[in-house]
Symmetry: C2
Subunit: 157 residues, 2 copies
DNA sequence: AGGGGAAGTGTTATACTATATCATCCGCTG
DNA sequence: CAGCGGATGATATAGTATAACACTTCCCCT
């Protein structure tokens, strides 16, 4: 999800899958059955899932999967930008803007566990200026925040 | 370390320990032997260590420690701001600016594994503006970047 | 069509990270 | 010195991730 507002969920699943298909085709890569199913599970659940949550769902569908299958699929999907890893949760979430070049930031609600993906430009942010100041060559960034989303903020109060 | 340059290491250990002592005293908390030793180990090693690395060092000193001891000490030190957790590494590093109010960012060298702590003001950065834009109440932030530090950058080239 | 290499998957085992639980100890306060 | 709360000891287990090797499938090339 991009922010904490409701949206057309079926539509976002379909377009994300289509974007993944296209991205793979364009790069000569294969969106195999296992990879596609893992991506679908993340899209359908629409939240951050641990690798073993994904594994459980695969097994619930009758697929006798093992951890390496899931981690390989996730590694692939993350490398291609179709899925993001949330470090604070040791979890994975489907990308909300597949196809777009981006290094996202995440807002994680500690009450409802929703994760919103925000577009940012890390090169131009604080990490970028810190890196330039010391001569550090930036290759990958993690920007995550935990707190209360607008919905839970009201509910708690 | 604050950046990737050499510095007075003995001095930084002593001042960090002193700051921790003072901080605990000021807040009516106890810097117990276990907590102090864990902090010293992180300061001496001067890099990010996993909880089990710390555990190994405690045991190497003849202390028959178990994982919960280390995690409890680390939780305390992190809560007090004397140690920071590096999410990308599942590791811990002694704070380079103890006492100062700060929400740090980290630059992690993938070659030499050095971790530099950079001062930033997250409320004013991209995460802060993203949070304000959606009504998200920011409580804790993680800003980490991986890449090549100035030293390794030269060595590889 | 068939050879052959690269990429992907199956399978087993294991390494690494973290916490639950309950008993015991220690230090302070009244 | 009794009692309380925080800290530690100890055992067990939960949760996350990868190593290693065998096998298959896809695809390209001839």
């Amino acid at each position: 999800m991009i922010d904490f507002a409701p949206h057309d969920h079926d539509g976002c699943i379909a377009s994300a899958l289509a974007a993944a298909e296209e991205g793979c085709a364009a790069r000569g890569l294969r969106l195999t059955d296992a990879r596609r199913r893992v991506l679908e599970i993340l899209l359908e659940s629409h939240r951050a899932l641990g690798a073993y949550d994904v594994l459980d769902r695969l097994r619930a569908e009758g697929r006798p999967a093992q951890p390496p299958l899931v981690y390989r699929a996730l590694d692939f999907l993350v490398a291609q930008g179709f899925v993001h890893r949330i470090e604070r949760l040791n979890a994975f979430v489907a990308c909300a803007r597949p196809g777009a070049e981006h290094a996202p930031a995440f807002l994680i609600c500690r009450a409802c566990e929703a994760v919103a993906e925000m577009p940012v430009a890390p090169e131009e942010g604080r990490l970028g200026s810190a890196a330039r100041a010391t001569g550090f060559a930036l290759e990958a960034t993690t920007l995550e925040a935990e707190g209360l989303c607008p919905n839970c903020r009201g509910a708690v109060a």
